[in-house]
Structure formats: structure tokens, C-alpha cells
Amino acid sequence: MTVQLPLTRNIHADRRPTDLQAYEQNGGYQALRKAIPGMPPADCLQTVVDSHLRGRGGAGFPTGMKWSFVPMGENASPGHKYLICNADEMEPGAFKDRLLLECDPHQLVEGMILAAYTLQADIAYIFIRPEYLLATERLNQAIADCHRKGYLGKNILGSDFSLDLYVHVSAGRYICGEETALISALEGKRANPRAKPPFPQVSGLWGRPTIVNNVETLCNIPHIIEHGAQWFIGLGVSEDAGTKLYGVSGRVRNPGCWELPMGTPIREILEHRAGGMEDGYALRGLLPGGGSTDFLVPEHLDLPMDYSAIGKAGSRMGTGTIIILDDRTCPVAFVKNLIDFFAQESCGFCTPCRDGLPWSGQVLEDIENGRGRPEDLETLERQVSFIGAIGNTHCALAPGAMEPLQSALHYFREDFEKHIDDGRCPYGEPH
């Protein structure tokens, strides 16, 4: 029987790391040995395209298509090509990449070697947030072990493919997780996102072709290369392929992170994995994929957690890490916390984001503190349509910030109105 939950097969309950020896004993680096010398880069690319793998960082863009925009062969100008792993996990509510980085660093490294080989990139970076100290230490160890073993460096496995892999430790700021901002940060600059086009695949790091992929995305690559596209598609139980790391945080009995077939119903994740709500708390709503996704409500519990179904319900699967809003937490204050986060983390380049988000935060603060006026709801609606419109800003930070706000105004409107009518928040401080 082939593996059904590939991403977490080396991850133990006590979260001890899987070292090179244990990783290899469990079949690690077999995908690399299959690709080099057995599969030319074009075959690897086709396999990833056929697997229907979609980016696990939040946007869900098809990985194979993203890779296919990198100029190859005769179309490639001489010089470096870069692969970057985005390990800057900072979305409120997201804690899945930490698990992969800390517990099975070789899975990511093998995924990156295979991705770089496919793209014929000769330099790769892992861009990691500075708070992930344990992950950084284990990645550096994994990279050193790979150099000793000939999986990294010059002429990998005796081929003419060479790759250097570096860990770049960031210095903070959520915006660094946006791929063009990440590139700016890696170049040693302020992490301002860039207008596209040009896309990074053509002109990215230091003006060279660059691919930026999320940790979980890259961790899927060895398994896809080893077992094939059809196997990967077969892992999902709905329209999307593969497995997914789902997480739940908030007032549930057993918060955590689990690998499940893509398309597992939300109800199963919440009730069977997270153990249902804590005693004394009821489910009011949930953000399916981190702080920048629209609320879903109890009527959506039977939806499959995948890109298409959650998209059709008006939200996004995002990172797949669910945040629970319970019935004893104020929805206005909940959204205010998120808006304050996005306002603080704005890079400040585009006006709707720099000036709009603090304005939204101020209106929400007034409502929360009993100083709200009826016309404030119209102001918030206007902000949602202006700040939330794609194209008014270089990147998706501000539109993402508007997602929980717009859906809260829709699903929890009576809460906003009650704050304004009564001149006070009917909920107490969280405890």
C-alpha cells in the first residue's frame, strides 16, 4: 500500500526531528535518485503540472503553471535562476509550516532540490522568520548533512546539476511573506511589494528568473515525483488534489494541526480532530484559512475544505488553518484585532492600505468602545469596496484585510448595530 498521508509520515507526536539517517531509512531522497539521472527537468515539470498541485501558502495558484513561466533552455538568458522557499509564516492563525520545518527538514530540502532541478535554478534560499529558531537550526543541520552526502553542492549525484541552498533569516514584518516583498527583503531592502508585471518568474531576485513557493507546497514535490501525478490526484476526496495540513485554533477542545485528504469536510476537522467546542462555548463563525479570509458560519460546516468549495461559499481556503469565533467573543473586537494587525503590518507604500486600514481600525474602535454612530456602518462598507478592490494596491494585503471585515458586516451585522444602539460592547474581555 502506498502512503496516504505523505507530508507527516516522518512527524512524531513528540515533535522530535527526523534526521538524515531516519529520513533515508523511511524512503527519503529516493525521489531525488529517481529524478537524477532518470527524469529530465521537462519530465519533472510535466509531472508537477499533471498533479494539479496548487500553492499551499494561501493563494492556491497551480504550482506547475507558475513554474512553466520560467524561461527554459534556449529561451533562458545566461546567468543565475533562483528558487525561494517562503517560510515566513506570519498569517494570524497559521502554524502549519512550523510543523514541517521543525519536524522533517529533509522533506523540504529534498523538495527544494527537486524544484530547483526542474527549473534548472542554481541558487536557492529558505526565507524564514526570525522567531523560528528551532526550525532554522534544524534546516542548517539538514543542509550541512546534504552537502556531506552529495545531495547539495557541485554535481549532485554525479550529474551536471549543481545547487547552493542558503537559509536567510528575516528581521520581522508580515509583508515579507508577499512574494515580491520577500524578494525585496532578500535583496537587503525595505520589503515593499512590487507592481506586476514583470512577474518574478521572468524578473525576480536581482532581476533574474525566480520562483517563490510555500513550505508545504515544496514538501509535496518529492512525493509527486516518486509516486506520480495520478497517485497525488487520488489522495484528495473532492475536486482538488493531494492532502492538506489543516489546523484549528480558538475555543475547541483539542487545537492542533493534522494532515488529511484535500477536501475533508470542515465538520470532520472541527469535530473529529479538534474535538468540538470547549464546554460552555458555541460556534459562531470561523475563518477557514487564516486572518485574511472571509468568515464562514455553522451552515457551511459540511463543505469540503478545498479551494473550489470554500471559494464558492464566498471565502478562501487560504492556509487551511481555521480560526474559531465562539459565542462569547465579540465579533467587532475580533475583526478590530485583525484590522489593527494588517494596519500595523502594511508596508506603507500604497495609500488605500497605509491610510485606509488605520481608518477602518479607528471606526471599529469607536464602535467597540460605545462611540459608534449609525453612519459608521456605511463608512465601513465603503472602505470594504475601495480598500478591498484588487488593483488599488500593489499587493493583496489590504484586500485580504477587508475579507474578515466584509463578511463580519454580513453575518454579524446585528452585533455591530447593537454596539451602536446600546453605546457599549455587550461582551466582556476575553478570558
Binding site: M90, P130, E131, A171, A185, G188, S249, G250
Partner: protein, 159 residues
């Protein structure tokens, strides 16, 4: 700028910065790494350090400061021996981080962005630490503390 007053970076700092320079195409590309290296040795990046780094990277001190002040974890003011990073993002907020913040202030006598008079701790808020299943969480120095309760704080900050 009076060049004679600029302190020389230590040999160790220089060698660590030069190791970064070895794999970037131009010197200013190592700006963030260089500041992190100096901060690791000195705790923070003073005006004098900033000027020395800028000179070594062949860029202006003002340009480097524009980069330094963008990033939350480059410190341009002195900090205590250990920095307390208390997560205040949504899950930790729901699980009571405001209460924990008040308790820390009560225990150590410092509010956010302040340092204890004995220079042991600096207290800062931090955006989501990526451990939401163990909320509320904080870091003290290099250590992550999960499932925090007010009693845990008493143990961590026992003097």
C-alpha cells in the same frame, strides 16, 4: 561625518558579514544580515554601529537606517538582556493575552516598549508567532512559552 569617530567592527563581526557578502551580487544586499550580525553581538544597532556597517557595505547611513527602521526586530534603541515578545494576534487575544500583558507589567514594572531598570528585560508585542494551537504564547529571549497562564508568568519571571 567624522570618520575617526567611527568604531571599527570587530574581526568576528567583519568575518561573519563577509561570509554573507560572498554569495550576494552587491554589498548593500547584505544590509539586513549585517545588522542582524551586529545586533547579535551588541544587543542593538547604535548610530555608531549603523555608520560602520554602512561604510563597510558602501552605502549611506541614512539608506541603511531606512532599512533598519522598516523591520520590527532590528533594534535601534538598547534593549534588555532578554526581549519578551508577547503575541497579540487574534487567537492569543481570544485566549487572554491582554490579561497576560497586564500581569507582566505588574510583575516587572514595565509597559510595552520599556526596559526594566536592571536591563534584564525589554517588553514588546509581536504579531502571530505561529503556535496558535498552543495560545496564548510568548517568547522570552530564544525560548517559546506555550499555553500561558498568569501562574506560568509568575514562574518565568520569578526574581
Amino acid at each position: 561625518m567624522n570618520n575617526e569617530r567611527i568604531p571599527v567592527l570587530t574581526e568576528l563581526e567583519l568575518s561573519e558579514i563577509d561570509a554573507e557578502l560572498a554569495h550576494v551580487p552587491y554589498r548593500s544586499a547584505a544590509a539586513i544580515d549585517a545588522m542582524r550580525i551586529v545586533q547579535r553581538h551588541r544587543g542593538w544597532v547604535s548610530d555608531e554601529s549603523l555608520q560602520a556597517i554602512a561604510r563597510h557595505l558602501e552605502m549611506s547611513a541614512d539608506e541603511l537606517d531606512g532599512i533598519a527602521t522598516f523591520y520590527t526586530l532590528i533594534f535601534r534603541r538598547p534593549v534588555g538582556e532578554k526581549v519578551i515578545l508577547l503575541c497579540n494576534s487574534v487567537t492569543c487575544w481570544m485566549k487572554g493575552c491582554d490579561k497576560l500583558q497586564r500581569r507582566i507589567t505588574e510583575k516587572l514594572g514595565i509597559g510595552l516598549a520599556e526596559t526594566t531598570p536592571d536591563q534584564r528585560y525589554t517588553f514588546l508585542p509581536i504579531s502571530c508567532l505561529g503556535a496558535c494551537d498552543k495560545a496564548p504564547v510568548m517568547m522570552v529571549g530564544d525560548d517559546l512559552y506555550e499555553n500561558l497562564a498568569e501562574q506560568t508568568l509568575d514562574e518565568v519571571f520569578r526574581s
